[in-house]
Amino acid sequence: MSSTLKGITLKGSAELVAEFFSFGINSILYQRGIYPPETFTRVTQYDMSLYLTVDPNLKTYLNDVVTQLKGWLFDCTVQKLVLVITCLETNEVLERWQFDIECDKTITGSSGTREKSIKAIQEEIRSVIRQITATVTFLPLLETACSFDLLIYTDKDQVVPEKWEESGPKMIADSEEVRLRTFTTTIHKVSSMVAYKRTDCI
């Protein structure tokens, strides 16, 4: 790890946040059953057991997104990361996991460090992931076949890389929102929330 001894650098913070997203997205995909459970394998991270996918196509896709996100986190041009779950039959959005990223732009490129221990950050990340796992209890069941998509909100002047394209925000029409915990590395602050389509049977 790049940020163990002296504190958190911008690069180290970007890596931490990107790592969190990688594991968080995998957890969400496993918990919501987007992919069958047998395509996931158990790993240990943040002192708890999490699930990672072994599907090669999905892995390459996630790696592409996360590496690009890491670069944008280093540049402090990314504002949100959204995981959108759509029903394949009706093409409507059923769930929307939104992660807001606030970057402290006063930190210079590679020189500044902040005093915060990795342990504390990992504690916070652990609590966030636990909360994500716990949200399964109140989210409505996804009965139909679903697929997911990752959207990134960036600054308007950000160059769009080759394989990327602009898209709409894919908001839910009639939604309930629930705010979840935040964690901060003192350089990047990530707050999470989930919005789901209101079901009629309550």
Binding site: Q79, Q158, W164, P169, E177, A195
Partner: protein, 742 residues
């Protein structure tokens, strides 16, 4: 006497013994002893030695006792000499004991030595015997060794010979091998050469064949090309002829063209000339007409000249007139302006006249001696001077008033101070009085206490007779004193607090009185300020109302702000963004798109499959059996179909086997029946049976029967034989003999 000691030659001990003996025995016979000693250097028994030891000890003791009596002269002090003697005796005894111990040790050693010598000698003898035996063995061994060595030498000679022969044969082998190898190589070379020659042969033959082929091809090509050539040549001749004809035609054409061009040129020239002539003719006509007009033109010319001169003159006149008119117009304008100015001046004049009138009347109005403006100015100057004087007076008056006010204020301050001081003094006096009173009370209390204490002490003193009460009394006294001190301290504290409180009260009273006085002063100073207080109150109330309104508005705005913030938050949660600052991007090849694409493809695929199946069904319904080689359908056979096919095959196989078996068996049965019973029954056609006997004379002799289902009662009468046959099923069949065939 002393016996002779027999020892085994321990010289040292002997010498010591000699010494001991010499000491004790002054007499001679040394030599005899010495001779005795040297005599006995052979083996002795231990027991004798020991006995001799003991005897010598005794004798020694006796000897020791003797010289003591002989040697010692009688002395004066007997006890002393006796002690000395005893001491000496004891010493000598101890020495003798030591010597005896050493002697015994010596004797033991001598014994051991003898034993060892004996054993030595035995060992030596044995060793000598062993040596003899070993010497003999050695001699035998040596002989054997020599024999073996001889054998070894012989064997070695043989070995050397054999090695020599081996080497020779090896060499021969090697030479033979080399020759073989050489010949092999030659053979290989020849073979290689032959193979190469063969290869070259083959290659050359192939080449020859190819060349032959090529030759043939080339010949063919030649023939074809020659034929082509001939054809082309014929064509060429034809073309040449055509060319010649064409050239001739061309020449003719060229000639005609040249003639044509000449003719055209001529035509153009003639046309040009014609045009010129026409133009000339037209010009001539115009000239004629113009000439006709000439005299009229001359007349007109004259007239025009006259007119011209006339017009010039008139023009000059008109110019002059114009200038005049312009001058007159300007004059007119000026005069009009003057008029206007005059009018305004007249108005001013009237105003000035009125003003002058007023000024002239001023003197009558004011009553002053004014007729001219100089008088007015004089008056004004006087008034101004008076004004200045008055202002100066005013200033002086105001300054004196201010000074007086200051003095007054000062005096008032002094008054207040004096009053405060007076009050303070009064307060102090009161405090002092109170203090005095308290002190007096205290004094009284103290005196009382003192008296009481004194009484107690006197009472205690009076009762001091018994010693038993004194410690208790002293204790009680101490306790009382302590109590007293405590009470006094408490009193002091309370008094201090009281004084402090009184001082504070005094100060507060002073402050209030000061404030009241200042208020009075202020009230006196500003009698008119009471009016302004109303105004102030009104202002204050209005301000308060304003404040309340603003507060209410602020609250309202705050609520609105909160509501808007909540809405913004909600929108943010839902995912709204500002398009001017952010944009949303995602990967093109994302799982949702891929899944949608897959769905569409699946749907398409399913539709196609459906279509194909429908067509197949239609074909099946229409056509019946469909061959599996249609090619369009490639439905994978389902499991049921495969099972059924397998079952079908197995059933067919079974059927086949049953048929074969039945065939065999029935054949067998029929032959057996024929052989055993002598009759053969054949089925010719349906329901007709032929019976043939083994004893028939001809092959064609047989009985034909026909059978139909009927009950036995319905037996039909027939002249021929009627037979009943009962099948296994229980139905009686009646067979009717049809005919007898011959």
């Amino acid at each position: 006497m002393r016996n002779t000691v027999r020892s085994n030659g321990c010289n040292l001990a002997m010498t010591s013994f000699h010494v001991a003996e010499e000491e004790g025995d002054p007499s001679g016979s040394r030599g005899a002893r010495g001779g005795n000693l040297s005599h006995h250097c052979s083996k002795m028994d231990g027991m004798d030695d020991e006995t001799t030891v003991f005897t010598t000890l005794k004798s020694f003791k006796s000897f020791i006792s003797k010289p003591e009596t002989s040697q010692k002269p009688p002395d004066s002090s007997l006890a002393h000499h006796h002690l000395q003697r005893q001491y000496l005796q004891r010493i000598e005894m101890e020495e003798a004991a030591e010597k005896i111990c050493s002697k015994t040790h010596l004797l033991q050693m001598a014994q051991e030595k003898q034993q060892m010598e004996l054993s030595h000698k035995r060992a030596r003898i044995e060793l000598e015997k062993a040596a003899h035996i070993s010497a003999r063995d050695l001699e035998r061994e040596v002989d054997r060794n020599q024999e073996l060595l001889n054998r070894i030498k012989k064997l070695e000679e043989r070995e050397a010979e054999t090695t020599r022969t081996l080497n020779e044969q090896m060499e021969m082998n090697k030479t033979l091998k080399k020759s073989l190898e050489g010949e092999n190589k030659k053979l290989e070379e020849k073979e290689s050469v032959i193979s190469e020659a063969n290869k070259t042969n083959g290659a050359l033959r192939d080449e020859i064949r190819e060349l032959n082929h090529k030759l043939k091809k080339l010949d063919m090509q030649l023939t074809t090309q020659s034929t082509d050539n001939q054809g082309l040549q014929e064509q060429l001749e034809l073309q040449r002829k055509k060319y010649q004809e064409l050239t001739m035609k061309f020449q003719e054409l060229q000639a005609t063209q040249s003639l044509n061009s000449d003719n055209e040129l001529k035509i153009k020239e003639l046309e040009r000339r014609l045009a010129l002539q026409e133009q000339d003719s037209v010009i001539v006509r115009n000239m004629k007409s113009e000439l006709a007009r000439l005299p009229d033109m001359e007349r007109e010319l004259k007239r025009l000249r006259e007119e011209n001169s006339y017009l010039r003159e008139t023009q000059e006149n008109s110019n002059l007139l114009r200038e005049e008119t312009e001058g007159l117009r300007r004059k007119l304008e000026r005069l009009e302006k003057l008029k206007e100015d005059m009018v305004s001046l007249e108005l001013e004049k009237e105003k000035q006249a009125t003003v002058l009138q007023a000024w002239e009347n001023l003197s009558e109005m004011t009553g002053l001696n004014i007729r001219k403006p100089e008088d007015l100015s004089r008056e004004i100057i006087q008034i101004q001077q008076r004004e200045i004087a008055l202002k100066q007076q005013n200033h002086s008056v105001t300054s004196s008033a201010r000074a007086l006010e200051k003095a007054r204020a000062q005096l008032q301050g002094e008054v207040t101070d004096l009053r405060t001081k007076a009050l303070e003094e009064q307060k102090k006096r009161e405090q002092q009085d109170a203090l005095v009173r308290r002190l007096q009370k205290r004094v009284l209390l103290l005196t009382k206490e003192r008296d009481g204490m004194k009484a107690i002490l006197e009472s205690y003193d009076s009762e001091l007779a018994t010693n038993e009460y004194s410690p208790q009394l002293t204790r009680r006294v101490k306790e009382a004193e302590d109590m007293l001190q405590k009470v006094q301290a408490h009193n002091l504290e309370i008094e201090a607090q009281l004084s402090k409180a009184q001082e504070e009260i005094g100060t507060y009273k002073l402050q209030t009185q000061k404030a009241e006085m200042e208020l009075d002063v202020l009230k006196k100073q500003a009698p008119g300020a009471e009016n302004s207080s109303f105004v102030m109150n009104e202002e204050v109330s209005s301000l308060r109302q304003k404040i309340e309104e603003l507060e209410a508005e602020r609250r309202r705005l705050e609520d609105q702000n909160n509501i808007l913030e909540m809405r913004l938050e909600k929108h943010n949660l839902q995912g709204a963004y500002d398009p001017t600052k952010t944009k949303v991007i995602h990967l093109r090849m994302n799982p949702t798109n891929i899944a949608k694409q897959q769905r569409l493809d699946e749907v398409e695929h399913l539709r196609e499959e459906c279509q194909q199946l429908r067509e197949r069904i239609r074909a099946l319904q229409a056509g019946g059996a469909v061959t599996s080689n249609e090619g369009t359908l490639s439905l994978p056979p389902s499991q049921e179909v495969l099972d059924l096919r397998r079952q079908l095959e197995s059933a067919e196989l079974k059927n086949q086997r049953l048929k074969e078996v039945f065939q065999k068996k029935i054949q067998e049965f029929r032959t057996v029946c024929y052989v055993l019973t002598g009759y053969q029954i054949d089925i010719t056609t349906e329901n007709q049976y032929r019976l043939t006997s083994v004893y028939a004379e001809h092959m064609e002799d047989s009985l034909l029967f026909k059978g139909w289902n009927c009950t036995p009662l319905m037996a039909q009468f027939c002249p021929a034989a009627v037979g009943y046959v009962q099948w296994d099923t229980g139905i009686l069949m009646k067979l009717k003999l049809m005919k007898v065939e011959r």
